[in-house]
């Protein structure tokens, strides 16, 4: 499946727009990762524990969005966007959305 954050895909044209598709996940930090990240934060730099948490969240939300697109019969999702919001002090939601379409090659 072609997935892009642009409105068009070079070499293809949109045959049909199937609608908005979306996926989300809410994840909480665990105590172990939080503790390690707190120690690392004393000297600054990348907090890989949190980076991995964000990566897992993004992958899960994106997969749920793509599953919905597949159920609609799409072969591409365009104009993908991401958004986050804190739910509580220790948890955040990652929300992915885009437009499911069927593409056909140009020419």
């Amino acid at each position: 499946m072609i997935v892009v954050n642009t409105e068009t895909v070079a070499g293809y044209r949109i045959e049909r727009v199937l609608g908005l598709v979306q996926g989300n996940t809410v994840r909480a930090k665990n105590f172990g990762r939080d503790f390690l990240a707190g120690l690392k934060n004393i000297v600054g730099g990348e907090l890989s524990e949190y980076t991995e948490l964000l990566t897992e969240s993004r992958q899960q939300a994106t997969q749920r969005m793509l599953d919905e697109a597949q159920r609609l019969g799409a072969n591409a999702v365009i104009n993908v966007r991401y958004s986050t919001s804190a739910v509580t002090a220790g948890a955040a939601e990652l929300y992915a959305y885009g437009t499911a379409v069927t593409l056909i090659p140009e020419g």
Partner: protein
């Protein structure tokens, strides 16, 4: 006595943050410069429109990054916050974090055989920070469409 222990603990953390943090920051700046030089051939734009080769389907690529601000710089930021003015220490860290995120996007694009990025979006993410603001960190979400440029553009 407790107050003294508290002050000593704070000073120790700040010293550790200043000493090791300065070394990490210097190493990171060098690494950023070297990788920016190596990946300067990957063209980046935040335009939605791009002239891509029709023979390689473009692809969405993503990056996530959470970057901590060391205790010493956080202290400097708190002092500035009290008197007002620009928090240059925090701004410097956020600038480096964005450069790091952009470099990881470029590296992913190059590894997948693409030589350009369109519709770059770099946004800060809200991940539920410590309400007492003891640990400062910035979370970034980046995305772009990777594509191969037309021969004439290369």
């Amino acid at each position: 006595m407790e107050a003294l222990i508290g002050i000593l603990s704070l000073l120790t953390l700040m010293f550790v943050g200043w000493f090791w943090g300065a070394r990490r920051r210097a190493r990171h700046r060098e690494s950023l410069s070297a990788r920016e030089q190596a990946l300067k051939h990957v063209c980046v734009s935040n335009s939605k429109h791009y002239a891509a080769s029709p023979h390689h389907a473009p692809r969405l690529i993503n990056v996530e990054l959470v970057w901590g601000i060391d205790r010493f710089q956080a202290f400097l930021g708190a002092v500035t916050n009290f008197f007002g003015g620009e928090l240059t220490s925090v701004a410097e860290v956020m600038g480096r974090a964005r450069r790091e995120a952009l470099l990881r996007l470029k590296a992913q694009a190059e590894a997948s055989g693409y030589d350009a990025l369109a519709n770059l979006r770099l946004e800060t993410a809200d991940i539920g920070n410590d309400p007492q603001q003891r640990d400062l960190k910035v979370a970034l979400l980046g995305s772009a469409t990777a594509y191969r440029r037309l021969r004439a553009d290369r």
